[in-house]
Subunit: 287 residues, 6 copies
């Protein structure tokens, strides 16, 4: 008998009921301010994940030994950001209800808001660790409040005691930085202070949102708003692994890959490898 083809992220073929992590992708890019196309990220990452190995020589562990289920792409009503966020929230809530960790692949950064709404309902005092080139703290973008340029501002409105910790930020307008002062913990340019932050957050729930444009555009050209002067792949790999190993992650996402802007495919490879390292780290927590 022949089997139906399945197309999951490499080695993520654990059954749902046995999984501790549930992957899904949210192919939405409707509020992208510059170059759209992140809707194609999930498919590209799954496909090209087969160009990598499942084994990590960095962590000396194998994704094949982890319990990850990949539920594939959400079907989203492109053109209606509000409805899109509801669909994402519903999926994340379902995964959370089943006591699994929702791991979302964007899409543009606005998708974070959908997943975070579900997370904050279950973990009201959740904190956010945010890696990004852009502060994403605008009140609105040309009058639009549900925009990827405002997503952390929207998340901030939902916080119930938790805080936001940003790293790697190297772009924003004057008003974002002045509003953020005193409200947001912003580390410019790199990951200095990350270990202290993780120490401080010990035992507290954390949502981890990773905008891949924190990487230097040479490493990650396939993104909507390339911002020169970012971190290296190894710096991000180390930082993301640390967060996943040490923090009490209750949800996470990786976003803003726009594969069509990089004909060489190196951006997809970078995204896939970071996700592999994060998944392995989540399943191999430090004790």
């Amino acid at each position: 008998m022949l089997n139906m083809q399945t197309d999951v992220f490499m080695a993520c073929d654990t059954k749902y009921k046995d999984a501790s992590i549930a992957l899904f992708s949210a192919p939405f890019d409707g509020t992208t301010s510059f170059r759209p196309g992140t809707r194609f990220a999930g498919g590209a990452i799954r496909r090209d994940s087969y160009g990598l190995e499942t084994f990590s020589p960095y962590q000396n562990a194998d994704l094949a030994d982890c319990r990850v289920f990949d539920s594939g792409e959400l079907e989203l009503p492109i053109g209606d950001a509000s409805a899109v966020l509801k669909a994402i929230e519903k999926r994340a809530a379902l995964i959370l209800k089943d006591e699994k960790l929702p791991f979302m692949i964007g899409g543009e950064h606005l998708v974070t808001l959908g997943a975070f709404r579900a997370v904050v309902k279950k973990f009201p005092r959740v904190n956010i660790i945010h890696f990004d080139a852009h502060a994403d703290l605008r009140e609105d973008y040309l009058g639009v409040k549900l925009s990827h340029a405002c997503v952390l501002r929207r998340c901030h409105e939902l916080l119930q005691g938790g805080s936001i910790f940003q790293f790697g930020i190297r772009s924003g307008d004057k008003s974002e930085f002045s509003w953020g002062r005193g409200r947001i913990n912003t580390r410019l340019f790199d990951f200095e202070g990350l270990e202290e932050t993780l120490e401080k957050l010990k035992g507290e729930p954390v949502y981890f949102t990773l905008d891949l444009d924190v990487l230097d555009p040479s490493v990650f050209p396939g993104t909507g708003t390339p911002e020169p002067g970012g971190v290296s792949f190894d710096a991000l790999r180390r930082a993301a692994t640390l967060v996943c190993k040490r923090a009490e992650i209750v949800g996470c996402d990786v976003n803003e890959l726009s594969p069509h802007y990089d004909q060489s495919g190196i951006s997809v490879a970078a995204a896939a490898k970071i996700i592999r390292e994060m998944l392995i780290a989540l399943e191999n927590k430090e004790v």
Copy 2:
């Protein structure tokens, strides 16, 4: 003294008050169902128009002798289709109030709805001539009614006696064709019957909307949803010229160029040349 740089479609430097046609572009692609990027069409078309001549050997006339003003790109609130349509309607209404012809460069096809709303208010019995690969007659697309896949359906709801005449259609789902039967005049695959249609519409106001994906993808690869088997450049040029020369055009648009999907630039050249021919034809009507 040095002058500020201006960047208009070639030869479209008539002053607004002296112009009979006002160009503008609507850089919106928020409801694109497959590959986004039409927001970059207006800039690309203006830029590469300088690779063409202003003189048309087809019509033996020169765009430099026409009275066209180019008001540039609208600033649109990406992410909110409703607000986008209002901004487009406002711009078109302003041009119409000043007794000029609004000529819009998309953007995805949904932008037509904004301009058409303004037109139908001034010309309630307006008809539509529609060139396209896709019928665009869906009631909704994944629940979204303001989608480029539904735009002619939305326009149909605004008609007050006028009709829709489609040409070149070669794609749609079963429900679109069955709904369209008896309501819409659909010519599949080519432009046969166009002369008769123009004869019938003599003296009546016409809105002309041209989705460039009616062209074969070999001629026009730079589009969101390439549909093999389309018309040749010369077939479209002749048909579009005919419409602009003979019909009582009260508004028109050209849409669905997505320049980033065509590294060679031939799609941009095709769009620019069609616009040149349309502008010259509109100013050199048959008598």
Copy 3:
């Protein structure tokens, strides 16, 4: 409960036991003489098939009403052509044993040999209809006999009474044409004589192999050996539909799409649309 993601050609989700046609793809390009990359065709075609509709306005029929199962990609031992052909033959034989039609997506043209071996075992007197730019009749290519440049020669050796009918051929070396004379029915450049051929083959089993480079490179740039001066999309669509509607097809394949050579995606769209039309025609035979 969440479902595993599946990634099949659009609308080909009939269960295997209920299907009359079984799709599979053979991602092999190890003997490609010029530009490799056809191994990526199957994935690209499935993915981008969702940019098309399931309904065909040409045949006024819907793929959603057809009984097609998609068994996905074979896992092939890249680097060993002999073993690859065995794996393909095995898959095709299994499908044939279950009284279904094997429909293979290449890969390079050599994959035809694998499927044809299975077919000729079940249908010894099978004929071949072959659309291609290249004659593929070499005895060997730089000493290699299992090469995509020799595939029809290899198939010819397996014939047991059947014949080969080539259409659209516009390239070959002198020796291929002189060898072919009297042995192969070769129609140069176009599809003239196809109806007569189909008439002649009435009631006899036919294997249909379609090398997509029969198309003009403007329509289908994404291929390993582009040969200028080919047929139009509509000419191929009509011819391929005719073959599928009239001949007693017992196996078929579509091959030589190399998607990475066409950044615009129009080649993938052309391949997917031809496959849609062929599947619909196979299920809506002329009576």
Copy 4:
């Protein structure tokens, strides 16, 4: 013993002394008005010629049986158009002195002037057959007289009784067409009248200059100034073959391929195949 590598157009390995035709390429694009890059044409054409066969099924003849020597690329002082033209003239004159036919691969169209200067010295009453999208009849381009936009005007100044016959022209400014009237025989858009022209020129020396942008951009996207609405590959193939078979060609060139603008390589293939057909036709004259 190992041999030095040589990199010639396929099958053009006749010794110089035995050759009747001498190929060379002129990698110059210094006056290109829009998108430069034709300097890379010669290398690309030679390289990808190996993706084609040497045998022509159109003419039933083989390039391998022709006596063509390929002398490779000229080394040209980029940045000094005047010196470039001198170097080209010198090469062409040398070939002419040895009673061979100079066949030049551009480069941009200005290179024609260099070769034509040599030709007109040997054949004062030479005529020109010119295939192109653009009239190239400007007096100057932004004050520059040695520009590819003026090349036929410059050639016209050198005529000593001969005439210029243009075909396929679909672009020019008003002044070019009005100047040309009565001076130049211009056929717009296609090759109608070519047979009559060849009849009229019987027995007279002819220089044949082929700007490949006469082709439709769908067939030939890799060029500096794509002009939609051109001829098909087969139309050009037939016309160029006819000229080479019937006219008394004393020199010829093929120009304006800019390979980097076409990632798919189909433009290079089109150029190489046209050159193959021309070379075979030149060696297989009609009698």
Copy 5:
């Protein structure tokens, strides 16, 4: 009333009379020795500058607060390097006469000679700070003296007491380095010694010419002659900011972006961000 569209570098909309800096671009690439295309840099940089913010978190200052006028693209007689340099000199001289700083965007590196001629007339003892991968000190290139490979040699001939200080050089032929010894201050590979140089030049007029290929090709692939092993974006940003903050800049340019060689757009983003940082630094001098 509708306004004419303007297309300036982001936030550079100060009126000419109020500006302290006047931007212009020189779209010339006629002497490029390898891959041409820098003529498209000015347009691409202006366009994509809108993907960046006007605020610099590095300098904690905003370009919107600077007094910069953008006079757009010069119209240059492509094909005549001599005339091109005259047009550039004229524009720079006009800006200098009005006591503003000319800030030129190339184009290839030869354009520097035009601007420098104007500068040295007003500031005879001017020095040059030169960042580049290539020494550009050839006496001539294939006999051509006005070549981008010779531009610093040509500038050196105009010096009247000033000196040239090169940084980041990692390519040149033997003769350039031996000629340079004792005449030019060349720092290989990086920016070591820049602070000392700035100290030494305190109070003296400086022309700053920045060839962006000093960057590593990973950061800046879109250039005519990529030279592996260059500096990082941050190293260049710091060095260029330092020069603009500390030296008495009387003219400057940024050149050698060739945008078509980088489909991802990261090279354009790098160029735009460097220009933003330079403009802000020039308006926020150290005291």
Copy 6:
């Protein structure tokens, strides 16, 4: 008299009998597991080598002073890995017999096996220094033993006392690393320990195989299996120079450039520059 064109790596025009090093390229990619295309590396490297200088400011020496012969591309029977390896072995053996150093440009990594077979016959106790991202130590790949994923395992089987020293490895499956333990000297991620290794190998014959994907994909995107997190260009340049200057190199190769995956050309430039530095170092050994 005109000369036949030759197309060799820059400055490698020493006659064979006078040369100490003989370059050749092996255009084979038939076992590539992910993205094929390395067959085009040799041509691309030769061509674009002319964008570099022959002089190295790193070593203060000139390739023009070295004695290198370039014998061009092997003609290989694509599709038959076994026959390909024989042809490579034959070429390498011929060069070795003439007491010259064979320097091979791949092709995929499997080509190393062909050259190494010749080397180990002449130098039975030869060692291997191996730079790579991937361990390449699999026993087989989907059942195929002659695969680029197994090449060092195959070489290991031929060793007669020598050892393998790997550097820069950052990918492999679990079984490769466990098999390698105790058998292979593997340095993960970087070149630490290289000097000690060279010290240890003093006086012993060494084959040096350099898989360019050891570089970070940002520097070298044009490869079949990009693996994020690699070494910088300068790190590789220094390490490869050191090996060539200090070790007793008896054969070497540089492989896995797949130029079509990098439209910008920076990968080709990186490969060409590394080869230049290696050739200069081989001819300027440390004493």
